[in-house]
């Protein structure tokens, strides 16, 4: 599959050159897995492979389409590039195909006012502008909400990454979750996730982004909680969703601010308005802050990252797809998409500090430290992901747009490879705990070990694997010390550069630890094998195997592909002039095809790479690796091949170190803050107080009014009514009764004629009275 991409990358062939058909119809790509979701949901259980085949087919087709789309995009860029020569500034019109008014009867004057700059002549400009196709989704109060696609370099890159990794994860899962009781549901949600993610990536406007953003969140919720019978899993799912919701609040508010400021949902319009200073700087700043909160939750940045390690409760392929390669980079993608907003809002150019860079660099180091103390291999990788996302975030913060996106690209492959490798190991030992179940695995699982090693080196950022190239570009982009020659970058983010280098060293160190604990030393899992059965939670009978064994081909092939990508992905964006010394050629292909040159993208500068910086950073990273190597491979191994740490290590002898270790073990106490204080507080005291107020103040007032009314009524009834009024009535009644008793015996004798007589007498008397008085 990868080779197909290379084919497209090296030179567009004829079959992708169908006048932009794939670009204009990229909506088919998310539609395929969406259809697959519906089919699996309704018919999955009746199918021979329980729906997996539908998912794989759909995602496979989506992948092919993505590759074709990417090829067509590159073809288009090359054509445009040839005529323009160089990446100069272009104030070109955006290519917009504003068609398909379903109810085309309405003359669209207001919409025309909103999108005044989109003329029909836009069609003629073909080149590096995004391809936009859209139609009106709905209207409200004169505001049109559109839905559509926006395809440019960034989009096709993400399409490729998402579909490729999704495809590999689908294949991997057929073995990994084989026999799971909700096998079909699992594949349904994978399809839904893929569709949502692709929908998000293809968003033409920010509203669509919100929709996609939420949908991937809910898929993440469903897949983290895949084994919801156990409470920790559902807790983790809830935590993930709720933490993301906190960030979503920022997303909603930020997008709302942008919408009202730019009077449009369109990403292009918003970016242009921001870059053109049509939106006030304060407004942009506030919007950027709000959106940063969204990035912090979705992309696991400090201090909203805590859900991500917990999210490892989900099946491992899900972790690889959602929580390493795709969904968690949604925040990064969003920043990259709306870069005009952040660029202006944070005044990235010419500055040395901003919140995005700060959040990113703190996350990078903070999470790297946390990765040291984890015993669960997936948690190490999770913190590693957090840390790497910090790199991307920092890169965006310092203005190194291409570097960030490129790191996103390379990281997706090697991190997915690492997760799937960890899954392969745990599939065999039925645990993720490195200290109790692993060790010496290289002997049992050599193929997994090899791929894991490749991905690890890529992650460590050692040349010449993928991570090195992308990490190096980020460091260059910080424009740090003049000593290293990073002069022409956007600002001088020295702090970011320092943190970036420290982060590289930390990464090397904790990954070395992982390698040792997992693959070297002696296997420690033998005594747990029979009576321990957590792990994946599926009830197959692997538990009877006495020794770990290598995984099957459906697990290994995805690993091969990913480790292959971990090797080659870095070469897509070699520094300019590297090796050949020529400015044109096969260097900087990624930059060339992905970074937009258009009115919706800010005029960013690109740092000039320097050998000295690259060498220095590599040396620091290697130092980190060697320190860790010395500790584990030499000292711990010498103590005992089965040991996991030194008996008399620093934490047992030094108070400060022990305190630091505890802080790390407790994950900076953030979980306590969130779970116990904020969530527990809201759910407990605050909600109870509110409810108490409801029952005892508001409702009590109502009841009190009711009671007062009743008691007043009682008083009125008992005292006034019963005693006074009724007393009078009763008095008259008893008087009548007495009189009646007298008259009864005298008059009521049942004699009809007596009655008649009385009647006539009375009539006579009355008639007489009437005559006298009237």
């Amino acid at each position: 599959m990868g080779s197909l991409f290379i084919l497209g990358a090296e030179g567009p062939t004829e079959f992708v050159d169908i006048a932009g058909w794939f670009l204009e119809n990229a909506w088919i790509i998310p539609a395929l897995p969406a259809i697959s979701f519906v089919i699996i949901l309704f018919f999955g259980k009746k199918l021979p492979y329980k729906g997996a085949e539908i998912g794989i087919t759909a995602v496979g087709l989506a992948f092919i389409l993505s590759v074709l789309t990417a090829g067509q995009w590159m073809n288009q860029v090359d054509n445009a590039h040839g005529s323009e020569g160089g990446h100069g500034e272009e104030a070109a019109l955006v290519l917009v195909d504003d068609d398909i008014e379903l109810a085309s009867a309405e003359a669209d004057s207001e919409a025309a006012a909103f999108f005044a700059e989109e003329g029909e002549e836009g069609h003629s400009v073909v080149g590096r502008n995004a391809v936009v196709e859209r139609f009106t989704w709905w209207e409200n109060g004169g505001v049109e909400f559109k839905v559509g696609i926006m395809v440019d370099g960034l989009t096709v890159m993400m399409l490729f990454v998402v579909t490729l990794i999704s495809l590999l994860v689908h294949i991997y899962s057929t073995d990994y979750v084989d026999g799971d009781r909700r096998y079909t549901h699992y594949f349904a949600f994978l399809s839904l996730f893929t569709a949502s993610m692709l929908f998000f990536v293809l968003s033409e406007n920010v509203l669509q982004m919100i929709v996609g953003w939420e949908l991937v969140g809910v898929c993440s919720f469903a897949l983290i909680g895949h084994w919801w019978e156990e409470k920790p899993n559902s807790d983790a799912a809830l935590k993930a969703f709720l933490t993301n919701r906190v960030g979503d609040m920022g997303l909603l508010i930020g997008m709302i601010i942008l919408f009202w400021s730019a009077n449009s949902w369109s990403i292009i319009d918003i970016n242009e308005a921001a870059i053109g200073h049509d939106i006030g700087h304060t407004t942009l700043f506030i919007a950027s802050l709000c959106l940063t909160a969204a990035v912090m939750s979705k992309s696991g940045q400090f201090v909203l990252h805590t859900w991500l390690p917990d999210a490892m409760a989900g099946p491992t392929p899900v972790s690889a797809l959602i929580h390493a390669a795709t969904m968690v980079v949604a925040g990064i993608y969003m920043v990259a998409r709306l870069y005009g907003v952040f660029w202006e809002g944070y005044s990235i150019a010419g500055s040395s500090f901003n919140i995005l860079a700060l959040v990113g660099s703190v996350t990078l180091v903070g999470a790297g430290l946390l990765a040291f103390v984890q015993d669960d291999i997936k948690k190490v990788l999770a913190y590693s992901t957090v840390s790497q996302l910090g790199y991307m975030c920092m890169a965006l913060g310092v203005g190194a747009w291409t570097a960030a996106v490129f790191h996103l690209f390379t990281h997706a492959f090697f991190k997915a490879g690492l997760f799937l490798g960890a899954g392969s190991v745990s599939h065999s030992v039925h645990s993720f705990d490195m200290k109790t179940h692993m060790g010496g695995m290289r002997k049992f699982m050599p193929k997994t070990f090899a791929t894991f090693m490749i991905c690890t080196i890529a992650l460590m950022g050692l040349p010449p694997l993928a991570g090195f190239w992308s990490k190096d570009e980020i460091l260059v982009g910080t424009g740090g010390w003049g000593f290293f020659g990073g002069t022409s970058a956007n600002g001088s983010y020295t702090f970011a550069l320092v943190m970036g280098i420290i982060g590289a060293a930390l990464t090397c160190a904790y990954m070395t630890r992982v390698i040792y604990l997992t693959f070297f030393g002696e296997w420690r899992g033998a005594e747990h094998m029979h009576h321990d059965d957590h792990g994946d939670g599926h009830d197959d009978d692997h538990g009877h195997a006495h020794e770990p064994h290598e995984s099957g081909p459906r697990i290994l092939i995805p690993l091969y592909i990913l480790s292959f990508m971990a090797i080659v992905a870095g070469f897509f964006n070699l520094p300019p002039g590297f090796i050949t010394g020529s400015e044109e050629g096969w260097q900087e292909r990624f930059f060339h095809y992905v970074e937009p040159v258009s009115s919706y993208f800010p005029a960013i500068k690109h740092g000039v790479p320097s050998y000295s910086l690259a060498i220095f950073a590599t040396i620091v990273a290697l130092l980190g690796a060697f320190a860790s190597y010395y500790y584990f491979f030499v000292r711990v191994n010498r103590q005992s091949p089965a040991a996991t740490e030194l008996a008399n290590g620093l934490t047992s002898t030094n108070k400060v170190a022990r305190a630091g270790h505890t802080v790390l073990k407790e994950k900076y106490y953030l979980d306590h803050l969130y779970t116990d204080i904020i969530a527990g507080g809201t759910k407990g005291p605050v909600a109870d107080a509110a409810y108490w107020t409801n029952q005892n103040v508001i409702d009590e007032t109502v009841n009190q009014v009711g009671r007062t009314a009743v008691s007043t009524a009682t008083f009125v009834y008992e005292t006034i009514d019963q005693k006074l009024v009724d007393g009078a009535v009763n008095l008259s009644g008893s008087a009548s009764e007495g009189l009646g008793e007298v008259s009864r015996s005298a008059l009521q004798r049942g004699k009809v004629q007596q009655y008649a007589a009385i009647m006539f007498i009375a009539a006579t008397v009355i008639a007489g009275l009437l005559m006298v008085f009237i």
Partner: protein, 544 residues
């Protein structure tokens, strides 16, 4: 206007009443016959509703259609004026949809103490009342229908309710009556103070058309404020708005399932509908003065309702409290006084009706199976009754405002609108409300997922393992639920039909049509806006 069809609304409205009479005439022992008679009646009404939906002129949704205007109580110039426009149409459709589904639901499981004859005729009378409220274009007629709704609901709660039904039903009844009384006073004040001659009616008029077309411009500002206050309480109780909401959890918790469903799906909408149809079009000036306060109560309701949910142990009570929060979003949309916000509010009303109605159906079915709604005892619904568990999950997701499902399009545009309220309103205040409302979405996710975790996830408690009563969704439940579920999804994916239906009518409701070239006072800055209303009043006085 199509004069040919002006019988349609009347027939549609009174068919259920006739049905109720028929049901009452059938001997009590003929239970099946009674049920079928009730169902067929409601289906006939629904069929007329389908005809209405197809025949309605959507291009002219801002105008009243199918208008009938007949003498009624001539001595006070109260007329039998009915009509339907883009705002009323979705509400009517919702009513006509929910009632047959409720009747179908009762066919499978009838609440104790049975007596289908009484319950079904009450439901049908209720339907007439609800439909009448939505079609009425005369204040007295509106009031009569508004009150007709009360009594059947009162009896439904008081007879078929839970253990604490007497308290709950009485509270519901008295609370609403209290609000209605103030509302009636306001109606009367408007009758005496407004001058219908400006719009070609009689001087004292109850005609909602005349009153919202500008017959009220001459009313002094202070009087307007008081009149609006009366309506505010009347409608606010029904919505229910914080702090008039306390009847709601009790009524919902105690009511039988179908009662809860109708209460949530339609009855609460009578209040918000009143705001949109009566309070704001008739008294825009007072609405502008009150709107910040309404917005404040709305966002308090959002947060407060969510917190109330988190403190619950009873599933049904939790859903009831969530209504307070969701109606807060609707009221927030209304309080912006923009066509955008009010459109969102109408959408929110429909969405809330579908989603919360559905949640109450599920709660009722859970109660039928487990005989408890205590969330500490529930759990593992996804194992015991997987389909029902998934439906619950689907509805919880819809309720927390997941994009792609109906709830989102009520919530998000309301928040969106409050960033940019009508110019006459204080912008900064409403932006503050926006932030609080956005916080409400977080809490909404919190309590709904927590409920989902408690009830659907995990494993069933020992007491419920292998309980033969706990079955998956039954046929009658499928029939009753499928339309709601389909609509939640359909409106979520393609909200355009509903928005385009309401849009024109909402725009028209915010305009003062009294004379040509009336300035749009709501869209001027606060001071200018008030001056604009004063000018209008002076112009009117000079003319009159």
């Amino acid at each position: 206007m199509e004069f040919d069809n002006n019988w349609l609304l009347s027939v549609m409205t009174f068919v259920p009443l006739v049905g109720a009479a028929i049901v009452m005439a059938i001997p009590k022992a003929e239970e099946e016959l009674i049920k079928w008679a009730a169902l067929i009646t409601s289906l006939v009404a629904a069929g007329l509703g389908v005809f209405l939906l197809t025949d309605f002129n959507y291009d002219n949704a801002g105008e009243l259609q199918y208008v009938a205007d007949a003498q009624w109580i001539s001595v006070i110039n109260s007329r039998y004026i009915i009509g339907v426009d883009g705002i009323a149409l979705p509400m009517i459709a919702l009513t006509l949809l929910v009632v047959p589904l409720c009747i179908i639901y009762t066919m499978g499981h009838f609440p104790e103490p049975r007596n289908p004859k009484a319950l079904l005729s009450l439901i049908l009378i209720l339907e007439t009342g609800m439909l009448g409220t939505f079609i009425a274009q005369d204040l007295i007629l509106f009031f009569v229908f508004f009150e007709v709704v009360l009594l059947p609901m009162f009896f439904m709660i008081a007879v078929w309710g839970g253990d604490d039904r007497r308290y709950a039903s009485l509270k519901f009844f008295l609370y609403t009556m209290f609000g209605s009384a103030l509302m009636l006073v306001s109606f009367l004040a408007m009758y005496f103070l407004a001058d219908g001659t400006i719009v070609g009616d009689e001087a004292n008029t109850f005609s909602m058309i005349a009153l919202s077309d500008g017959a009220t411009v001459g009313i002094a500002r202070t009087s307007q404020l008081w009149i609006f206050a009366g309506m505010f309480v009347g409608f606010g109780v029904k919505v229910p708005m914080f702090p008039f909401h306390t009847w709601l959890p009790d009524a919902h918790t105690q009511a039988p399932t179908v009662g809860s469903v109708i209460l949530a799906a339609v009855l609460l909408k009578l209040g918000t509908y009143g705001f949109i149809r009566i309070a704001i079009p008739m008294l825009p000036e007072a609405a502008a003065a009150w709107a910040p306060f309404i917005g404040l109560l709305a966002v308090i309701g959002i947060i407060y309702g969510a917190l109330g949910c988190l403190a619950q142990t009873d599933m049904k009570r939790l859903i009831a409290f969530s209504s307070v929060a969701h109606m807060g979003f609707v009221m927030l949309g209304i309080s912006t006084l923009t066509d955008f916000g009010i459109n969102a509010a109408v959408f929110g009303m429909v969405a809330h009706g579908l989603i919360t109605g559905m949640l109450f159906f599920i709660a009722g079915s859970v109660k039928d199976r487990y005989h408890t709604l205590d969330m500490a005892r529930l759990g593992g619904l996804l194992i015991s009754a997987p389909r029902m568990g998934w439906i619950l999950g689907f509805c919880a997701m819809a309720s927390l405002g997941l994009p792609g499902l109906a709830g989102f399009w009520g919530e998000f545009p309301a928040i969106l609108a409050s960033y940019n309220p009508a110019a006459i309103l204080p912008e900064a205040t409403f932006r503050g409300y926006m932030v609080v409302a956005a916080l409400g979405t977080v809490l909404a996710a919190g309590y709904l997922l927590w409920m989902l975790q408690k009830t659907a996830m995990g494993t069933p408690k020992d007491e419920f393992v292998d309980n033969p009563e706990i079955t998956d969704v039954k046929t009658y439940e499928w029939i009753a639920w499928a339309p709601l579920l389909a609509l939640i999804l359909a409106l979520g994916l393609y909200p355009k039909p509903l928005f385009s239906t309401t849009d024109d009518a909402v725009v028209k409701s915010l305009q003062v049509n009294v004379m040509d070239d009336v300035p749009d006072c709501l869209n001027l800055d606060t001071d200018q806006g008030e001056a604009c209303f004063d000018d209008l009043r002076e112009q009117f006085e000079a003319a009159g």
